[in-house]
């Protein structure tokens, strides 16, 4: 079974509308969950992470994500999308036992004016 799954290859949203990029993970110990964004020809930029505590995590550029233990999900959200949010978004997990990140397949977000 896939450790981190991003079920949508691409998400299209109109500027100003709310956006959601989905991520689910397989359960193994206490997961530490991350979102990264990749702009064209750039590296991976950290957006936000869930370690413990409040299930709603706020991050950079107005993004937030909700950790849902019962649904094993960590969906990325933003109340009002900008054209400049168009990029590739990766969800990642770190297991208890290791320090490397396991990434989902990525979701391309396209925000149209």
């Amino acid at each position: 079974a896939q450790s981190v799954a991003q079920p949508e290859d691409q998400v299209n949203v109109a500027e100003g509308n709310p956006l959601t990029v989905k991520c689910t993970y397989s359960v193994s110990g206490n997961p530490y969950l991350f979102w990264y964004v990749q702009y064209p020809n750039r590296g991976l930029q950290f957006l936000l992470k869930y370690i413990t505590g409040d299930n709603l995590v706020k991050g950079s550029y107005g993004f937030e994500a909700e950790f849902n233990k019962s649904q094993t999900s960590f969906h990325l959200k933003k109340p009002s999308a900008l054209v400049s949010d168009s990029a590739l978004y990766f969800c990642a997990k770190r297991e208890n036992a290791g320090n490397m990140l396991t990434f989902g397949g990525g979701t391309r977000l396209m925000v149209k004016p």
Partner: protein, 115 residues
């Protein structure tokens, strides 16, 4: 703000040639990583390095790959005899002290093309 840097940004090589990809992690970071991303695919872990030795490696990281930290600042990935399937974007990452909740910071990547 400190950044992870990588050189070169692009490299084209012939199959069978050796390549060395270079990274300068953030200066107070102690854990170093290489990941790769084949075009259109997910980012995959290759190897982690701490205290001058490999701490974890994936099945991708076979005998053709090696890493070292030759001078206390650079962190290099060497591919001894490149294959076509080594064509990918290679990312270096680092973080401070290995705590599970810590954030890994990534460099901009080196795009390797093997012909």
């Amino acid at each position: 703000e400190p950044e992870v840097t990588q050189t070169p940004s692009h490299q084209v090589t012939q199959m069978g040639q050796e390549v060395i990809l270079r990274c300068v992690p953030i200066s107070n970071h102690l854990y170093f990583y290489w990941y790769r991303q084949i075009l259109g695919q997910k980012v995959e872990f290759l190897v982690s390095f701490y205290n001058n030795e490999i701490s974890e490696k994936s099945e991708i990281f076979d005998d053709q790959f090696s890493v070292e930290r030759p001078d206390g600042s650079n962190f290099t990935l060497k591919i001894r005899s490149t294959k076509l399937e080594d064509s990918a974007m290679y990312f270096c990452a680092s973080f401070v002290s290995g705590g599970f909740g810590e954030t890994q910071y990534f460099g901009p990547g080196t795009r390797l093309l093997v012909l």
